[in-house]
Symmetry: C2
Subunit: 522 residues, 2 copies
């Protein structure tokens, strides 16, 4: 049974908690404390779907899989960005879908799409609901209604090939569910984004997700060898081979298509043997730059651990990795986490190769508890965001990536843009969590005292940061997709002609524009 | 000064040679010897381009870069597949372009395209002319003429970033030219397809080429981090970051676009430090299957050498790796080549990790001369094809890829299809030259006694082999692109809807269809 997330907070409602006492003093000192509870009662707009359409959907899927109750429609309203949470907390449910449908399998998804084309219904594919870029906010105007296409019944492991080391997964599987099915086969996918506990396989594919173990297992798009999708124009089935030269790789056109080109109904991924050994360690670096140089050296030498991340001075001092011990770090410098997963022999070999490189570059080993503490807290940060929103602290994250030589400028410019927009008491923390031979990602966490209109406050800051990213030539998003929030900057990144190509593909696959209207491209 | 290839043979005319004596006896025994010289005099069709159009092109580029002489137009006619060579040898130059233009840089390419749109001229981008899939055979009907857009003047190293380890190369650089420019910077690209000596950077990108060192350096599409292209609708400039989630990765839509979507005018690739140590070794396996299992073990353990290839029993016995010593191999079994490139430390570390795995799986080290002999002969096989065509032996290659569990079926079915089509005395040799965690490529070399109509003879065999590939679910091409030759099988691989998407992209970027008409999609 999949746990439904809290409607106006991240994650499992049972895990919601007030701000830890350890952090309360620091937060009060920097931002002050203001009680900002969510509104107690919210009204979900009445479902505007015509009864005949509802009956038509019930004919397709059975009445028990066509749902209009307010509680569920509230849970299917938007994703989990801070603006999404702020709107939910304020009782704004204007984006609620009219109906939630739960098809079981590719053919039923295709049937729903055909029905939606016939009756001009907007369809929003729903996997885990963890979008932080407005990927679940469909344009409503001009449609007969908005349908949340919930993939919750599509949770099968469709095939396993132990020789080729591939597995075919249905899109509704959440991270832990997919790993549990694979673990029973002695396998792992190894994809652990911060949203792991709630995000879905289909969502990972549709958004080009990247996980905390990307150095070892690869980005999600690099793990995919095959895809099946239902589109208004029929089926797309791709994946003849690990790699080929049969024209452009159309798998890479479905990956990142954010539900705007089709509904991904199966994903074939490369898998690895379940690791029998896992070691996580901490390293200290005198500066963010020194740590980054070490990461670059490892990446360019082909010596990456499974996990490799580095916090800047500010993030290290706040010690966000341990929400129960915020501010409780006096060692200074910059904290790096290295993790090794695999057989004991593989872990030992890679660790023995990496360790002297890091030591030789000036890295100092941190306390033995640092690595395990990071593992323990790795999925906890989003819960802390809710606790801070409760006391009037606006918290949000944003991320980007660039080539190594551009990293110092990108880091400085995004920080400066955020502080210029939000004020000098703003806290901007940063870490590198994904590295490549040619560059890396930068992930920023921002905290500021909430203004009277926090939505406008954040919109201005986000715009300033996004402008800074594209001005340096960096990407507007390394692993969170375009959604509706990043759309204004997409043309700056891929050009007006690139956007035109995406529109042409959408027009071909979804000629009447029913799929996630307004997401990715207009 | 770029060496022009022989008009009706592969490669440098100075290196053309008759069939080596060592092979002559064997060939006579199996196929008989029939003298099949190319026709002595050929007539190039008169350039059909209207004088006003010629003058217009001369205005754009200067008269010295707009060429219509017969000798050059003959050299720009088709590529280097066996059917291409057979047509050239028979004096069929019906696909000759009307004019060869040599723009210098992106803006001049864009100007040529604008002119071609205005006057409805078909434009065939020309890099190295090594296509083996009919990628240079544009449809002529309905156009005011066929323009060969020769990239020979675009041979600059536009940028080098030693921190990010990237380099930006112009598309006209041939393999050795690119490597020479990079070597002066202490860098290498490491892309060595069999066509290396003549093929171009633009061609590598446009066809998703893969080289003999793909295990260590990666396929060409995996080396590309940025692309610039001129299209009839304007410029496409892609590559904000090593990887991102800003929608689908449009770089992967230009890679493999075969000149049908735009003309690639710059390619930014990741580069590596020039290796200071290179070691190549031979291994013997009792069977093709045992050798393949060893390759799979290495790939799935993350222990690939820089070069890893394996010949089946037939190819091993013929010893194609050494054209000067064909048939001179009595050790039996299957020959594997392993190559290691890098620093002495990196070479030693990888070799020390790989060697016990291969030994443990039953591999026996071959004579010390085997590895260096492979390196010596690695670009020679296409010259041998010409020598065999001279004596009436039809020789051609084809290649495919699939997932490991499907390899035995693919191998058997393609071989059976070729023998069924060409007769029982047909020689079918095979090797694996590109491996992935989830699968590998199969590269077949076919030799048969030439029939009266060798074009029809090969067309039937090629169709039978291609049918067998798609029937097993494999790709119709791992690294040779679609061109015109593979187009009939593309829909079987990516579906009618996949072809429709490619058409939609082409219609958006090239609305009047001037770019390489008939190549990739109709």
């Amino acid at each position: 049974m999949t746990v439904e997330m809290h409607p106006s907070r991240w994650g499992d409602p049972a895990q919601a908690a007030p701000l830890p006492d350890s952090a309360r003093g620091l937060v009060e000192l920097v931002f002050g404390l203001t009680d900002r509870p969510a509104v107690a009662e919210v009204v979900v707009p009445v479902s505007g779907l015509a009864p005949a359409l509802l009956a038509g959907l019930e004919d397709l899927l059975g009445a028990e899989h066509v749902l209009t109750d307010d509680a569920l429609r509230r849970l299917r309203t938007r994703g989990k960005s801070t603006p999404d949470l702020l709107r939910q907390r304020a009782g704004d449910l204007s984006d609620a879908p009219d109906v939630v449908v739960r098809p079981n399998g590719h053919d039923e998804v295709a049937a729903v799409l055909a029905f939606a084309v016939e009756h001009h219904l907007a369809v929003v594919p729903f996997g885990g609901g963890t979008s932080v870029t407005g990927g679940l906010v469909a344009r409503r105007a001009g449609y007969a209604g908005v349908v949340s296409l919930d993939l919750v019944r599509m949770k099968r492991l469709l095939a396993v090939d132990h020789t080729s080391m591939t597995a075919t997964l249905e899109p509704g599987l959440r991270g832990p569910e997919a790993e549990a099915l694979l673990a029973a086969e002695g396998l792992t996918l190894g994809h652990y984004p911060q949203s792991f506990e709630h995000a879905s396989i289909g969502g990972f594919a549709a958004t080009r997700s990247s996980g905390q173990s990307s150095a070892g297992y690869g980005r999600f798009d690099a793990l995919v060898v095959g895809l099946r999708a239902a589109t208004p124009r029929g089926e797309l089935a791709l994946g003849s081979s690990p790699a080929n030269a049969a024209g452009p790789d159309l798998r890479q056109l479905l990956l990142g298509s954010e539900g705007a080109f089709g509904v991904i109904t199966a994903v074939t991924v490369r898998v690895r043997r379940l690791p029998t050994e896992k070691v996580y360690e901490g390293w200290r670096w005198p500066s963010f730059e020194a740590g980054r140089d070490a990461m670059r050296t490892l990446a360019q030498a082909g010596l990456l651990p499974t996990v490799l991340r580095l916090s800047d001075e500010a993030e290290t001092s706040i010690n966000l990795a341990r929400p129960d011990a915020i501010g409780d770090s006096s060692d200074g410098g910059c904290l790096m986490i290295t993790g090794y997963e695999g057989t004991p022999e593989a872990v030992a070999a890679r660790r023995d190769a990496v360790t002297p490189v890091l030591t030789g570059l000036g890295g100092l080993t941190a306390d033995a508890g640092v690595g395990p503490a990071w593992v323990e807290g790795r999925f906890r940060a989003p819960y802390l965001r809710d606790s801070l929103l409760d006391v009037g602290v606006l918290v949000e994250t944003l991320e980007t990536a660039t080539f190594w030589s551009n990293v110092p400028r990108l880091y400085a410019d995004v920080k400066a843009a955020l502080v210029a927009s939000l004020g000098t008491s703003t806290l901007v923390l940063c870490h590198v969590s994904h590295v490549y031979e040619t560059g890396c990602s930068l992930y920023f966490t921002v905290a500021a005292q909430e203004a009277d209109d926090p939505l406008a406050q954040w919109a201005a800051a986000k715009a300033a940061a996004s402008d800074a990213m594209v001005a340096t030539g960096a990407t507007i998003t390394h692993h969170h997709a375009v959604g509706t929030d990043h759309k204004p900057w997409l043309a700056a990144e891929i050009g007006a002609l690139g956007v035109s190509v995406l529109r042409a593909v959408k027009a071909d696959l979804d000629p009447t524009g029913i799929l996630n209207p307004g997401v990715l491209v207009d």
